[in-house]
């Protein structure tokens, strides 16, 4: 069967000593930054992006992917031990995980989170392998109009899944698209919005924007009120769950995996949503709902499986369509472009080793996480004691080095400072930066496909609704947009996101 020969190719690629090493580095780094609150996967990948330029394309993508799902693991450790999500997607885990830790069951909670994540990771890796090829085949039929409509769906979904005001999120998309257009127009060579600065003729540097908006803005927010963290130093003992625990985590893990896999494919940040959806489902169908909030095993097992499954399946749109599902995937696109790979349906056929290697590495990486993390928990706990004021100068220095090493362009560093300020301003104005970044990445693509589609149709805009696939995609986008504006959904949405904060 094709699937198995493909997977064999993948495992052969990912199993080479060098790639195993980079996978290991990736998951360890990911866990590290996941454990430390105040620095997320997005900022880390943005910082490391330039360094990966030196590596083989496969190795660099394997490492970056490892950072991403490693961070999901690490985030839950922090959530359980100090009631503070290391990553936003583990915010739900903090609710019951921390209570379990207070009841002296920290070890069990950590083990459940790790095992649930591993199970979800295994299943969803398989799903990626199963669904990526047929989707790629469909995507190869896409013309300019279809690509345009598909990107509209992506942008609209990112709006739907953003926190807070829908109007603001839409404005962020528009702003991101505009920023993405800075640089030289591809058709005429006219410089646009460069303010006469020649160094910006190639466009604003994506890494600089990402580091500024996500990394620096986050540091500034953390500096607003410097609090000391309290690590729950309950001895982490009795790692292995009992038979009874296993029985009670089994069903939630499976449900979480299903929910996570389905929601992860959605553009705009599926992992976070998946964790919340899973928690809500578990609470509703549990025969002991009163346990939730007091250390329910299902409240840890379900969401943890869901966020990990979501993290994995968010690779599907990236690998098949070249469309990022969340800011991290947008960075992965950046990484592919740096390596000279054009993301999209052709990757699977032109670079099968890369494509399947990444998929196989996800499973290997998940295995590494389970094997490594349980024994290393003591080390991660110690790391939590590093005060933040030591961390951020380090982050700042690495940001500067990272951004500078992309093009050795000092203007990129000025852009970092500028976008750091912009990002902080947006945080203060309660605008979500994720749609902005997505817009920034998609801006040039969106314009190119729009212009091409219009030329092909001789200036007839109905081309977007007369071509069936394009029409269906636009309909989806319209439905999503209508739904988020419905009063009932709006209220529910606010409720969900309030809980998260």
């Amino acid at each position: 069967m094709d699937l198995f020969s493909n997977l064999a190719l993948g495992f052969a690629t990912a199993g080479s000593p060098a790639n195993l090493l980079f996978c290991l580095i990736g998951v360890l780094l990911g866990t590290l930054i996941g454990v430390l609150p105040g620095i997320g996967a997005t900022a880390t990948i943005a910082m490391l992006l330039p360094i990966t330029f030196q590596l083989e394309p496969v190795s660099s993508l394997i490492m970056l992917a490892g950072i991403y799902y490693g961070a999901q693991y690490g985030g839950s450790t922090t959530a359980i031990l100090i009631n503070m999500p290391g990553e936003s997607s583990s915010a739900v885990t903090a609710i019951d995980g921390y209570q379990m830790a207070r009841n002296g069951r920290a070890g069990t909670a950590l083990a459940i989170a790790a095992l649930g994540s591993f199970f979800a990771g295994t299943v969803s890796t398989f799903l990626v392998a199963l669904f990526a090829p047929p989707l790629t085949a469909i995507a190869l039929e896409f013309g300019a109009a279809e690509y345009f409509s598909l990107m509209i769906v992506g942008l609209v979904s990112s709006v739907a899944l953003a926190h807070g005001s829908v109007v603001k999120a839409l404005a962020m998309v528009a702003l991101g698209l505009l920023l993405g257009l800075v640089g030289t127009d591809i058709y005429t060579g006219t410089p646009r919005f460069t303010l006469g600065i020649r160094e910006y003729a190639d466009g604003l540097n994506f890494v600089a924007l990402a580091v500024g908006v996500f990394g620096i803005a986050e540091i500034l927010r953390n500096l607003e009120s410097e609090k000391t963290r309290e690590v729950l130093m309950a001895r982490v003992s009795e790692l292995l769950p009992t038979k009874e625990d296993f029985k009670r985590m089994f069903a939630p893990v499976i449900r979480g995996t299903v929910i996570g896999s389905a929601l992860g494919v959605l553009p705009g940040g599926g992992a976070i949503l998946a964790a919340f959806a899973s928690y809500t489902v578990e609470k509703r169908i549990s025969d002991r709902p009163e346990e939730f909030g007091r250390g329910a095993i299902a409240g840890v097992a379900g969401p943890e499986s869901a966020n990990n499954a979501g993290a994995q399946t968010s690779f599907i749109p990236l690998l098949t369509l070249g469309i990022p599902a969340n800011p991290v995937m947008a960075l992965m696109i950046g990484a592919m472009i740096i390596q000279g790979i054009v993301p999209g349906p052709n990757v699977a056929t032109e670079q099968p080793a890369l494509f399947w290697g990444i998929i196989a590495s996800m499973w290997i990486g998940n295995l590494m996480l389970v094997v490594l993390n349980l024994p290393l928990i003591g080390l991660w706990v110690k790391l939590l004691k590093i005060p933040y004021f030591v961390l951020f100068p380090i982050i700042m220095a690495f940001c500067s080095i990272g951004v500078y090493s992309v093009n050795s362009n000092v203007y990129d560093l000025y852009a970092v400072a500028f976008f750091g300020l912009v990002g902080y301003l947006l945080l203060k104005l309660r605008c979500e930066p994720a749609p902005l970044l997505l817009g920034f990445v998609l801006g040039p693509l969106l314009e190119e496909n729009l212009r091409r589609a219009m030329i092909l149709s001789r200036g007839d805009p109905t081309t977007f609704v007369t071509r069936p696939i394009s029409a269906a995609l636009l309909l989806i986008a319209a439905i999503v947009l209508v739904v988020v504006f419905l009063p009932a959904v709006k209220a529910k949405r606010e409720e969900v996101f309030v809980e998260e904060d």
């Binding site: 919005f193 500034l220 700042m396 090493s405 219009m454 200036g459």
Partner: protein, 153 residues
């Protein structure tokens, strides 16, 4: 007549977005717009800036009705030290070279926290400079000059 009260955050947000939208629109008019059939470089940006301006106005109008929570504290000290750090790195990395630039950048960033003691700041920056030069310069072979012309005697 009742005085209209505004939610400051949203009013500010709306005005800024409107202004940015207008700025991009003004810039777009300087470019060739073209037709829907053959779009010029200014067509799509103009469309987007119109959308952005409109959304900015909507947020501004809404700010008169909906009230959110206040903006909270602003990290003035943080902004004062964190934002110049990468700029400083950019200004000095060629002249002073990689090692001094990393050291000074980190030192500047250290002062953003009032809890950082000067001795600690120097220790952290020094350790960081050594670590970076080992990893990035010797380990990954990034093409940085370790000590630039300003730092040579």
């Amino acid at each position: 007549m009742k005085a209209i009260s505004f939610d400051t955050t949203n009013a500010l947000c709306g005005s800024i977005l409107t202004a940015v939208g207008l700025f991009f629109a003004w810039q777009s008019f300087g470019l060739e717009i073209g037709t829907a059939f053959r779009m010029g470089p200014g067509y799509f940006p103009l469309l987007l800036s119109a959308v952005l301006t409109l959304l900015g106005v909507v947020i501004l109008v809404q700010s008169a009705r909906v009230h959110g929570e206040p903006m909270g504290p602003i990290a003035i000290r943080g902004m004062f030290f964190i934002l110049p750090a990468p700029i400083f790195f950019g200004l000095t990395v060629r002249g002073l070279g990689f090692v001094p630039a990393v050291f000074l950048t980190s030192l500047i960033a250290c002062f953003a926290s009032h809890r950082m003691k000067p001795l600690w700041a120097i220790a952290v920056s020094l350790g960081l400079a050594i670590f970076s030069v080992v990893v990035f310069s010797y380990g990954l072979n990034l093409p940085f000059e370790r000590f630039g012309p300003w730092a040579r005697f």
